[in-house]
């Protein structure tokens, strides 16, 4: 039997040493695997970690990729902090994008960018409504939110599939499952830089991230609401004695995280796709769970975690383009990286006790 026993005090030194050790181990095993498979190990590491930063437009690509991860991860943080396990951000992302898309396509000639306020709000509502289902089931009937939120992902996927094949299909698409393009007013533009022009796909949606992170930080650390969430998660009994309403906290965090996932969906579709298609999310909702934990459930940590995950993903693409390393190999490396980072964090907080178990 292996048991994890919480440490009385987390050593200050280990807070610094653990992540460094994790990275050293990752690099060691990475070198081993790449050498064994016959790839130049140093060049591979360069492609994965450094090349994504080697050009200004590549850095902008990282931000674009990290944008939905950070927005969803921040919402999930609120849930996980209060011990509510929302696994269905992927579905909330889709429903947010879908509701916003429906509204955008209902006004085909709108040009003013103020319309974005409406579509983004609609995205929040769409995602929040989808998260409201597990919220109400958990608080009223004590149904496990992990299962409900996860299962609703598949419902959302099939629903958007049905919508773009049926009611919202563009009659000019030769039977292909695509909606009409969004009107100008519902599109998020790329950011023009004087003298340089556009940087890859870098769009105004990024600004939302820079707004969200400080707001989330203040909410978690400086407000009563954030305090309640923390207490409910770490000491439910204390929360009860303090008179915090458990159910309303659960509903609130689920609505907020669902809403944020929905907003991420609107930004992603409005900035990068410009129309509805059967697939609008590519696992962002699931990857964001890793981002939330990798960021140690803190807004600033999540900002960096999102950037790390995005970097490695883009680095994997670069490694494939320049060196022909298949995605399965770089995927393996990603797995090793996450394994060591999360192990390092766990061992920092817990001791392992081996015992002859029964």
């Amino acid at each position: 039997m292996i048991t994890f026993i919480p440490r009385d005090k987390v050593s200050k030194n280990w807070i610094i040493i653990a992540p460094i050790l994790s990275i050293v181990f990752t690099i060691f095993f990475g070198l081993l695997i790449f050498t064994f498979l016959g790839y130049n190990p140093l060049e591979t590491l360069y492609q994965i970690f450094v090349s994504p930063f080697s050009r200004i437009d590549r850095i902008s690509d990282i931000l674009v990729k990290a944008c939905p991860l950070i927005i969803i991860g921040t919402g999930l943080m609120l849930c996980f902090k209060s011990n509510v396990w929302n696994i269905g951000a992927e579905g909330q992302f889709i429903m947010g994008a879908l509701l916003a898309g429906f509204i955008a396509l209902s006004f085909p000639n709108i040009e003013t960018k103020f319309f974005l306020l409406i579509t983004i709000s609609a995205g929040f509502v769409g995602g929040a409504l989808w998260a409201f289902i597990p919220a109400i089931l958990k608080t009223k009937l004590n149904v496990n939110e992990i299962l409900v939120s996860l299962m609703l992902v598949y419902v959302a996927m099939l629903f958007i599939d049905f919508i773009v094949r049926g009611p919202l299909r563009d009659p000019m698409s030769f039977g292909f499952p695509l909606s009409k393009p969004y009107p100008e007013g519902a599109l998020i533009n790329k950011i023009p830089f004087p003298g340089i022009g556009f940087l890859g796909q870098l769009h105004y949606g990024i600004l939302f991230v820079f707004l969200l992170v400080p707001v989330a930080w203040i909410f978690v650390n400086k407000t009563l609401g954030g305090f309640k969430i923390n207490v409910l998660g770490s000491a439910p009994q204390a929360a009860k004695f303090a008179g915090f309403k458990r159910n309303s906290i659960i509903i609130t965090v689920l609505l907020l995280s669902g809403g944020l996932a929905g907003v991420a969906g609107v930004i992603e579709v409005s900035a990068n796709i410009g129309q509805l298609q059967p697939e609008v999310s590519f696992g962002y909702g699931f990857t964001a769970i890793i981002v939330a934990f990798l960021g140690r459930l803190s807004p600033v940590g999540i900002l960096f975690a999102g950037i790390i995950i995005a970097t490695v993903k883009l680095g994997a693409d670069n490694a494939q383009m320049t060196m022909g390393i298949p995605k399965v190999v770089t995927g393996l490396f990603e797995g090793i990286l996450l394994f060591f980072l999360l192990t390092g964090e766990t061992l920092q907080k817990y001791k392992i006790k081996w015992s002859e178990g029964k």
Partner: protein
């Protein structure tokens, strides 16, 4: 004066030599850089594998004269835009994007890189530097219909479709035309898998078809799963995109093979000679290149697991399509509700094929949506 002349001459000599250097390095120096974007990995043994084989033919043909970069597993969304843009940034001169869903991303990036040539496979939107290429998959389906009609004992054909889009529907209808030409009693039932590639779903659909009595199966999805199920249950079927006989040595009657290599080679050659073009004209739907059996873009594998007389009929159908003697969608065509689509003496044109949203006689049920 003499000094001035020497200056002028040396200047001219210098500029000529520079010019010559530039030209020679452009033509003889660096290899042509070619990029490919794949939807899945060549391990799908179907759609992407067929593109991989095409890429290998390209490498074999040009050798050191080209440098190929491949990115696999690229989802059809923002990632595609980024990957295609990155390939263009890295100096690839021609980029093949090998799935329908790359259409908008390809056009978007093409606008930013007017000097790079883009080849979008199976799409319908082109621009100055975006060409489209596609294969007449339906021609192979007609031959499948002929073989199925002669091989079936239960007169029930099971067909697995990916999505009810024109490309798939014209395949079903072509199959029905082939079937009808040899066997008026057999009919086709269609199950929609709603995916291009999902071996589990494809296998489930095959099991349902067999349970309902179908003994010959056809598919418009990518994996060999259907043939594997057929092999286990004593049914027959056709390989898709690549030769799948390794997966079903007793069940595969033949395979319709997507042969992209010659198309890729032709387009790269055009680029190297400065003759690349999109072949565009007005109202010209299905891309400048929509090649089939005649142009070798669709190849029919060996006829196997069938009696000699069936193989002979199949060969006749193949030859007929190649020579143009068989026009698969020649009138009279009647849909399965009894409505006349086109009278005798006329035939559907390419545009009409891409508007197909009905089943012809011989197919059960109706097109969803």
């Amino acid at each position: 004066m003499i000094k001035f002349c020497t200056r002028i001459f040396s200047l001219i000599a210098l500029s000529i030599s520079v010019l010559f250097f530039v030209i020679s390095s452009a033509f003889a120096g660096s290899p042509t850089k070619v990029g490919f974007v794949y939807l899945t990995t060549p391990g799908d043994h179907g759609w992407t594998y067929a593109h991989e084989l095409g890429k290998q033919m390209v490498e074999k043909r040009f050798g050191k004269d080209i440098k190929v970069s491949v990115v696999e597993n690229v989802p059809e969304g923002p990632d595609a835009t980024r990957v295609i843009r990155e390939l263009a940034k890295q100096g690839n001169e021609i980029i093949f994007t090998t799935s329908f869903g790359y259409m908008e991303p390809t056009l978007k990036v093409a606008k930013e890189f007017p000097n790079v040539k883009f080849e979008h496979i199976t799409g319908y939107k082109r621009s100055k530097n975006v060409a489209t290429g596609n294969i007449r998959f339906y021609e192979g389906r007609y031959i499948q219909g002929v073989v199925a009609g002669l091989m079936t004992k239960t007169n029930k054909i099971g067909y697995i479709g990916a999505y009810p889009i024109a490309e798939v529907i014209m395949g079903i209808n072509a199959f029905a035309q082939g079937l009808k030409s040899v066997n008026k009693d057999a009919s086709i039932s269609v199950i929609w898998a709603n995916t291009w590639y999902d071996p589990v779903k494809e296998a489930d659909a095959a099991k349902v078809h067999i349970a309902e009595g179908a003994d010959v199966l056809a598919q418009h999805t990518d994996s060999p799963a259907m043939l594997q199920i057929a092999e286990k249950n004593g049914a027959m079927g056709f390989g898709q995109s690549t030769d799948m006989s390794a997966f079903a040595p007793k069940a595969q009657l033949f395979a319709s093979i997507n042969n992209w290599g010659p198309y890729y080679i032709k387009k790269i050659e055009e680029l190297r000679n400065g003759k690349w073009n999109t072949g565009d004209g007005p109202n010209h739907w299905p891309g400048n290149v929509w090649g089939g059996i005649k142009s070798d873009m669709l190849v029919i594998s060996k006829f196997q697991n069938m009696p000699a007389n069936v193989a002979q009929k199949a060969q006749e159908a193949l030859d007929g399509i190649k020579s143009g003697k068989i026009n698969i969608f020649a009138g009279p065509l009647i849909d399965n509700t009894g409505k006349e689509i086109i009278p005798a003496g006329k035939a559907l044109d390419d545009g009409a094929l891409w508007g197909m949203n009905y089943y012809l006689q011989g197919v059960n049920g109706k097109v969803p949506g």
